[in-house]
Symmetry: C2
């Protein structure tokens, strides 16, 4: 039995879509058990009824709800508050009896194997690190984000958890991300360090020292990943690497540059297509093409971002996650738990210790 916790209050379409996603995932995974935290004012019966009513007639989910089939594998915990999108992480710790805090506590107590959350990213990052805690020997947990430039996608870490990094953190990021990659893609990944040039003389102290550390490590640990040296944003976009390593500052700058430029270009295109009748007509025809591009950075298929290096699986999906994205995120967490990702990361990190100290 795999147990997963979810705060169904997190996300733009919560709690409706989050609960819907939970139900779909329960139907798909027969040995999945879900603990869902919710705000006490939410009428769960009413919510279930709504999902039932708006589901297609004769759909499997209707039977699942009507016959109370979920009851044996879904448990609800009421809380007195929840974290909104605008809440500052600091507020979140004031009232311990909130829906997010509760799932992290469950993870810490090993009552669940992983948690899924679609709400406030800042609260998620801070809460996961402070409450769940680091795996022994892991120096810094890192946020791994998925870049949808290819399939399988590119993994970027750290994408924002550690503004300042040391070379040994970068090596640990490589070890953790490769372990993760192997579980979900079943291949040995190529790994590169984000830099301002491909040549070894390029870069800052951090990239140069991390480069040497990774080269030494890989000589004795050939099987975990293939190290390809420095990569630039151009190489990332063109999928010349599977895992991109960066300090949380430059990784975050690259990620946000990609996200904001893709939004900008879609707006420019939209404007172009609102000039004159012909362009407007064309714009209508092209709507589906645009929608595909617009959702470029939603990448719901791969379950969202993961905080690597913690004593439990912590997955953060996009705020705009619909029921499908929630279902995928739960399935994804399920797969990681089934494959003992935490233990495997712990072992790899331990055996990599000699290279670091």
């Amino acid at each position: 039995m795999i147990k997963i916790g979810i705060d169904i209050m997190g996300g733009d379409y919560a709690p409706y879509s989050t609960l819907e996603g939970v139900l779909y995932s329960l139907m798909e995974n027969k040995d999945l058990y879900v603990v869902a935290t919710y705000h006490k004012d939410v009428d769960l019966n009413d919510l279930m009824k709504k999902i039932f009513v708006s589901s297609p007639k004769r759909s499997k989910i209707r039977g699942f709800i009507k016959n109370n089939l979920w009851k044996s594998r879904l448990n609800f915990i009421p809380c007195s508050s929840y974290v909104s999108m605008k809440d500052k992480p600091s507020n979140f710790f004031k009232d311990k009896d909130n829906t997010l805090n509760k799932i992290f506590e469950l993870l810490k107590m090993k009552e669940v194997d992983g948690v899924v959350y679609a709400g406030n990213t800042g609260a998620f990052l801070e809460g996961s690190v402070l409450i769940v805690g680091r795996i022994d020997n892991v120096k810094r947990p890192a946020l791994l984000t998925i870049l949808p430039f290819s399939n399988p996608p590119i993994f970027l870490l750290d994408s924002g958890a550690n503004a300042e990094c040391k070379p040994e953190y970068i090596l640990q990021f490589a070890i953790m991300a490769s372990t993760y990659y192997k579980i979900i893609v079943s291949k040995t990944p190529t790994v590169g360090i984000l830099n301002i040039g491909n040549e070894e003389i390029k870069g800052n102290t951090l990239t140069k020292e991390a480069n040497i550390l990774l080269k030494n490590y890989i000589q004795k640990n050939e099987n975990l990943f293939n190290y390809i040296g420095f990569v630039e944003p151009y190489d990332v976009v063109n999928s010349k690497v599977n895992i991109v390593l960066a300090d949380g500052f430059s990784g975050n700058i690259m990620l946000k540059s990609f996200e904001s430029l893709s939004e900008y270009m879609m707006d420019v295109l939209k404007r172009e297509f609102s000039k004159g009748l012909i362009n407007k007509a064309l714009g209508l025809v092209l709507r589906s093409n645009f929608r595909r591009l617009k959702n470029f950075f939603d990448y719901s298929e791969y379950g969202g971002a993961i905080m690597l290096g913690l004593k439990g699986i912590c997955i953060k999906t996009h705020g705009r996650a619909n029921y499908k994205a929630i279902k995928n995120a739960i399935n994804f967490t399920y797969k990681l738990a089934k494959n003992n990702i935490i233990e495997r990361i712990h072992e790899q990190i331990k055996s990599g210790e000699v290279w670091i100290t």
Copy 2:
């Protein structure tokens, strides 16, 4: 008289388009004098003839060439070699008698007020700093690049010259870029530091310390620029700031992320429009819209990137620069020289000294 040096061998369409650009700029600016370096194997008479023949009949430039009107304000210097796009900066210093080295030497000797170059960026950066030299009291020259998200565009510096920076460099970047901005835009710019969040607690040691330094500086120097604190890539794309300050590492990562993602999205769109007949037809209709977007990062209007903090004006235009972009770059350099940018930067830096040491 303003004197400008240009290496007409640099750029994808050199020496044809570079010389053509020079001629156009000479026609526009009556007190401009140009020194052009070229490779001795180039037949200048033949080149002039080609420009003459392919220019529209009765155009001004035909008369300018035919009547040798350029002869009094354009001087050519033959060199035994030139720098190709693929040359490594280190090669460039081996043979001193090359076209790029020569214009930097002319600038150093104050034989010209500024130089324009459309070729190898690495050679340009290294050569300009090593040969032309820093303005007194300037700690680090920085590469200012133009981001075309609005008009006037956003200025980014450092976009790649200094992989590692100290807070005082960032303050000097602000002073230099603001002086430059005032000359060409005639307004007081808003200035922000690139960061991974807008709040003061966000960021790394460099951004936090630079933030304090700039806040202190601006209290006593209200007129040079308006400091608005931290900005994210999203704010840059949405033109919420005129000048973005960054260390050369993260500035370069943001610039290259923008550039590579815009190329990527254009490729995705192209692919969408090659699927099926209807889409293909649409693609043809939309060609001009796409071309506009594709050239997004060519931004030839603002003359290209500038190396700020050197004892002369060093402008690097895009390798793909056509005659118009070359003409604009020369006109731009002309305007900066007319307005004594070097002296003005020197004064501002000197008066800012107290804040730094």
